[in-house]
Amino acid sequence: MKENKKLMKGNEAIAEAAIRGGCRCYFGYPITPQSEIPEYMSARMPEVGGTFLQAESEIAAINMVYGAGGAGARAMTSSSSPGISLKQEGISYIACAEIPCLIVNMVRSGPGLGGIQPSQCDYFQACKGGGHGDYKLLVYGPSSVQEAVDIAYEAFEKAIEYRTPVMILGDGMLGQIMEPVALPEMKDPATFARLPWATDGTKTGKERRIINSLYITPDPLEAINHKLFKKYELMAERETRCEEYRCDDAEILLTAYGTVARIAKSAVDMLREKGVKVGLIRPITLFPFPSKVYEKHAERNEVKKFISVELSMGQMVEDVRLSVNGKKPVGFYGRCGGNVMTSEDIVEAVLQGEVK
């Protein structure tokens, strides 16, 4: 009996993992399909002496995260696509002011108000900046509740190490699914090191700290731009994560992230049973993108093509193409609008060569 495991909904498990990772400030606004996160937080935060606040808007929520994170607290917010769009202003400021925080996007189909069913249509927004200005987030695309828990638990360590916002890019499926999870130990916020840059209200005069994203003269701002991108290079070097599944002898390489990667993984097994040499590259970090894995396979003679499988009109496929760099064809198979392909759909598409 695996008594140590709990059956938990993705949304609730992420919330609990963030708390166990030291999060004591949650600011959010209801939107399907992530409302279980604020609901869970509203009940749980008081139990651990933390703050839950249902903000007046997503805009206010992200700015509360700015304030609390800037004051040194482990702060988070969560939303779904239209709400994340509203948060982009704040995320841009947070990225520039280098405030660590956790943002969860349980993506729903768009554009506009769109639908509420699973989608991966916010990949560009998450990985290419999202708001105004030159910046990136550390973006994870977990494919199971356990993986989401492990990422949420360590998210603040990464956020603080790099002084960067961390985003978990999920979807309604990840938020709603229940799976067994082993929850990590509760970290004790009393043991956390004070953050020397944080405006925790304790310093005046020469030692005082300023959280800011305004640089009115070009040279200091250019220096900030370079500083941020140096950080992103370091993240690429040290934080890039990717799973390769049955890739070693594969001739066709599927690639997918998040919940879609699970569907693709099953498709790989089904195709292998039919004797088709297929593998799956599953980026776990979406930024930094695991380009080197694609480069490596693109160099292999027996690889015939890559196929990006996504719940979008084709977004991650652009990063795949950049990584493969013309060495092999890169195709795309996607569903959108909230429709989710089955493993059987992928098998059929691969067998019939429908993928362009």
């Binding site: 606040l53 007046e56 700015n63 304030g67 704040g90 002011a97 209200g201 300023i210």
Partner: protein, 249 residues
């Protein structure tokens, strides 16, 4: 040489960038003096707005955060909630607070967030060059209502203190003016009351300060003082709009 009055500790040595005759400098000084007198600098975080006071983080000699346009009350909420021991103040102008940031200020007030807000009302956008503000008065000229604000084109100005005082949340709302010594002294007392409320955990306090903008009003400093006295104070009457202490009496 005898020292009559020193610069408050809570102000840095950075010279203000404000225009001649602008009352931001007075407002900054009053806030700084009050913080010195209340001796709250050990647990203090300020929030600068977007607008002319955007560089307030250069002047207030404490931990400061610069907020996105209008979001100071949300940022203040985050700071305060993360550590309620901190005294948190937001300094905002009329465009910041009453236009783009209306939702944030209303909800911070409704939640009775235990923060102090200094609201500078000079009835115009300063930093961006004299555009119409939500508090621009009917007939008043601005670069986006060049013949004067009309009801037909622009609707009515917003009376922030009156409006917020209708909410159950706020502990204290007062409108003062920075036009002359008696008014300035009164403003300082109001600011002090607003900070003391926070120290005592009484909840949301806001002091609106009728201020000048000679550059964008296209007036001399003296003319602008007269304009604030004769025109603004007529539309924006001074006084205590809400005080839970008085209600309790």
């Amino acid at each position: 040489m005898a020292v009559f009055k020193k610069k408050p500790e809570m102000l840095t040595d950075v010279p203000f960038h404000y225009c001649p005759g602008c009352t931001h400098g007075i407002a900054h000084r009053l806030v700084a003096e009050v913080i010195d007198e209340l001796n709250i600098k050990d647990h203090l975080v300020g929030i600068a707005p977007v607008g002319c006071a955007v560089f307030a983080y250069d002047y207030f000699n404490c931990d400061m955060q610069e907020a996105a346009h209008g979001r100071a009350p949300a940022v203040a909420t985050g700071i305060k909630r993360s550590d309620p021991n901190n005294i948190v103040f937001a300094y905002q102008g009329d465009g910041d607070l009453a236009s783009i940031g209306m939702a944030e200020i209303v909800h911070a007030a409704a939640r009775s967030e235990n923060i102090t807000v200094i609201f500078i009302n000079n009835a115009i956008y300063g930093m961006t060059g004299g555009q119409m503000a939500p508090t621009t008065m009917l007939g008043q000229k601005a670069s986006t209502c060049q013949k004067g604000r009309t009801v037909a084109a622009n609707g009515y100005p917003i009376h922030v203190s009156e409006m917020l005082s209708q909410l159950q949340g706020p502990a204290y709302i007062e409108r003062c003016a920075l036009t002359d010594v008696p008014h300035i002294n009164k403003a300082k007392a109001a600011i002090k009351h607003a900070f003391r409320n926070q120290i005592d955990g009484k909840g949301f306090s806001l002091v609106e300060l009728i201020s000048t903008c000679p550059s964008n009003w296209k007036m001399s400093p003296l003319e602008s003082i007269e304009y604030a006295k004769n025109e603004m104070m007529k539309i924006y009457p001074l006084g205590v709009y809400k005080d839970i202490d008085k209600e309790a009496e």
